[in-house]
Subunit: 414 residues, 2 copies
Amino acid sequence: MTIRLTTLDNGLRIVSEARPMLETVSVGLWVDVGSRHEPAPLNGVTHCLEHMLFKGTERRTAQDIVLEIESVGGHINAYTSRDHTTYYARTLKDDLPLAVDILADILMNSVFDEGELTREKDVILQEIGQAQDTPDDIVFDHLQSVAYPDQSLGWSILGTPDTVRSFNRDALFSFMADKYRAGSIIVAAVGNLDHDRLVDMARSRFSGLPSGRREADATARYAPGCMVEQRPLEQVHLALAWPGVAHKAPEYYATQIYSTILGGGMSSRLFQKIREERGLAYSIYSFSASHADTGLLGVYAGTSPDQAETVLSLIEEDVQGLAAGATLAELASAKAQLKAGLMMALEATGSRMEQLGRQMLIYGRVIPTEEILMSLDAVTPDDVAAVAVRMAESGTRALAAVGGGPVEDLLKAA
Amino acid sequence: MTIRLTTLDNGLRIVSEARPMLETVSVGLWVDVGSRHEPAPLNGVTHCLEHMLFKGTERRTAQDIVLEIESVGGHINAYTSRDHTTYYARTLKDDLPLAVDILADILMNSVFDEGELTREKDVILQEIGQAQDTPDDIVFDHLQSVAYPDQSLGWSILGTPDTVRSFNRDALFSFMADKYRAGSIIVAAVGNLDHDRLVDMARSRFSGLPSGRREADATARYAPGCMVEQRPLEQVHLALAWPGVAHKAPEYYATQIYSTILGGGMSSRLFQKIREERGLAYSIYSFSASHADTGLLGVYAGTSPDQAETVLSLIEEDVQGLAAGATLAELASAKAQLKAGLMMALEATGSRMEQLGRQMLIYGRVIPTEEILMSLDAVTPDDVAAVAVRMAESGTRALAAVGGGPVEDLLKAA
């Protein structure tokens, strides 16, 4: 497994890991543009752009794009996050040139046909409807809007029905021309491949991209607060968040370890107390979400409306309890879980490709696995205690709830 | 990659594939017992049993079970389907003995503590609540109950709140003693492992299992029909099904190919017509679900309430249209997609372990990949046309709908 990195003259970077024993290859375009880079009237435009890149180029119709890749058994897709947009394909090894050709074609030569845009906006409205109908999905949108009020980081990735309806061809074109610059794009590939041939393909297709990078992010400002939405549901879906860590924060790994101890697995404190000892939830877990400048450390739980206040108190109790210190066994277990999880993710080409693309965008380099393992090992009990004390003393938190019963009462508990 | 199979004296089978270049290993216990093997008053007992096997053994508390595996960075979990129950773990390669020891311990020595059972029933009630709150999940339970009325194959895997509340320790014990027999259990492992050592471990731990197999399935009887549930949602979630194929049906592969052409990918007929040409849905896909004696060939779509009848008509139109024959290009593309999908799944230890376990339970042997590729290649246009004509002429179908708007009108369209 050999990692190689090449930078083209315009700044586009190509990173690959060759795995000659495999039959397949995963390749992705990682673009350093997400919904947080949108102005308010264009909320959702990054995601709409991601959809429209599949709707036809100068050489290919929308149908050609998927037909060509699927007719050789490959697949192609994309997704948008708050920070990044990713276009990716997976194919048998011999079809990597086709995958790169198509990914490059949709990035460089999309035509944004007006009729296609009209229909695709309808598809996105359906996607918004589907997300609205999924309470343990939408509760995280609510949480984000509480934690980052009146800021792009707090908006929905999909946009609102109104903003989506307002998009036109010119808005998409100029947003893309402004943001999609060679310095903000990574080509990442893992599998049975030859790096030099990958670079040749990329050079011939992406050289026309303008150099430079998009402008820097505005700094996000976390705020505590509460948002509850009453719906006729069986459960109340609760999502809470405290201030977390940015990607490059010194306490990044200590925070990962803290989150693992709090609610990362079935042996975690929250899972044991709320599910195993009390039977109050089926799904309960913690998460740590990081961005360039900020992050959230949070918890999700789905419970009965009449138990929601109890669950909130128990979560608070565990957060306070951890400030008294995790045990050395918990610390060792959390490290082992994170280290083994990393080794497992490395074995799948798709997740390894994702890791390479993300690391290049976030850190500007591929972080050796050995370095991550050492960083985890280097975290001391004091480092984790510092995170725990900060959590316990932060006092306020962001809370979102969607569900049945008198959820307004949660406002009092919040 | 060497596949080896060993049968113990009591009939328990151990199948493994060694991948010495990897750092991890996936191991699972595949039990040939699912919710369809339940009597009506015990609907949900298979799933409850699956939960209770994590609640303590003679040597380990519930917390020990997860702590021991997570403290070395591994994870352990389980799931229940209509046909099978699977207990699995993934660990670093050196921890395979621990994983096997724990999986064997929970299977052989669980104590079903009454207090644990009381709490775990609460957890399952929360799990039922969560499933109820997920419309594109629950619509498939409704579809199953329409297609297989008054039969165990039509019931929910989770059971109902009433049946779950009624379970007691004796019911779990006797269900398990009756069904969990050595001939109905497979130990499957893929990764960095030594087959002979795996067999030694399994022999020392599973020899106490009674030989024999559970009794044969009752034959399921498909029925057309309709079930609609009105809820205040943005979308209507539609699930339709026609009679499909059993696992060993001669037309098994032709049916997979048909389903792929109809709605298997982004180039499929349904995706192109309903999403790409009309913008009527975000999610639309077909599926083929097989059991020992029966199967369903179906379609899911999420759309707006006012477009539901149109979407149903368009699906019907595509089913009728395919009876006129797929193109040779569609046939070739579907074969390529299924073949490449198989190669991709082989590369992940978890999905390969799943494939080995399922094949052993269903076919009694590991099917060589080459044989599956040849079976797909051997499917002729006439074979697919036969499936298409049968679909188009079947006339009636099972339909379930959950969603907003006047869904009762769908009864008329059904």
